[in-house]
Symmetry: C2
Subunit: 187 residues, 2 copies
């Protein structure tokens, strides 16, 4: 049995025959496609690397995130952090992950077909993120297969990497995402 | 060569001989110990499970986090989410992780000895978190060993689990943390 319908704001909702008639083969308003041209499961090519943009992080946002979610001294207190294990304030790894996610949502995941994530394997923060850093994010498709139990979707595994302005990797992980396959124009 | 000094707000900073003299064997103000009595590497007993409290999540905070970091329709738009893959609004997995982290910082990690995390393995969100859910968090020590290269610390691996009010697991992962060993009172 097919799973639930696709995610998407109503203007991108593309699982109805009315929409298919109105907008043609893709069945969708193409404004839902991200800048990498990724819309449905089939678009994520095994082995392809997609650049997902960059984000800068400042001390105020590091401290604000830390105070809300991860109030360890080296995330929230610049004075204590200076004599702490990192020799200064660093971003919570969860803050880094959240910033990376924002870029993936904007440049990699598709509002038309993303059905969420099962999780991630081997999430690592090999180098600290410090105030003023600019992180560049990219994703490489390392596995791609149709679901056996739910034929409307596929599973895409993505090696996600974030590097700072000096080329140091600050985060890496393998993300597991579910994505709708492209609707059959004949249905 | 020993690594950098311990993390900690200045009042908990316990790597100085002055502090050792002032406060005795522990070398610390014991207000730095969390409610589970976990202060240094040695306190994390292999196989022990520590309850880490609970947190409730409402729609406003789900949408706010989603808009900032994970603006997929099912995290930010209740109307679109209702016809989306989860049949309603759900929290970003990163929001869930951040809420879990807060409880770990307050009830499991030690301000005296936490040296941060290398990352996590097998991070999973097996069940969605919805507005109104209350998540209970616990951590079980699944591996504990002294560092070979840095004798001032140990590595603790923790099976972290968050369950909702109905007992459904909403997040699990194996976290990898570095923690200072208890200072030798003779040094």
């Amino acid at each position: 049995m097919a799973g639930p319908g696709p995610a998407g704001e109503s203007k991108y909702f593309c699982n109805s025959s009315v929409m298919l008639e109105l907008t043609g083969r893709r069945g969708c308003d193409t404004t839902g496609v991200n800048e990498n041209g990724l819309s449905y499961f089939e678009d994520y090519r095994l082995g392809a690397t997609y650049e997902c943009g960059s984000v800068s992080v400042d001390q105020a946002s590091i401290v604000a995130f830390g105070k809300e979610f991860d109030p360890q001294p080296f995330h929230v207190d610049p004075v204590a952090a200076a004599s702490g294990p990192f020799g200064g304030l660093i971003a919570s790894g969860w803050h880094t992950a959240a910033l990376v996610m924002r870029l993936l949502v904007e440049n990699y995941l598709s509002a038309e077909s993303s059905l969420g994530s099962a999780g991630l394997d081997e999430l690592r923060w090999p180098h600290p993120v410090r105030p003023g850093d600019t992180l560049r994010v990219r994703g490489t498709v390392v596995e791609s297969r149709r679901s056996l139990s739910k034929p409307d979707r596929g599973i895409v595994k993505t090696a996600v990497e974030a590097v700072n302005q000096e080329g140091q990797t600050v985060m890496r992980a393998t993300a597991i995402n579910f994505m709708l396959v492209r609707p059959d124009p004949g249905t």
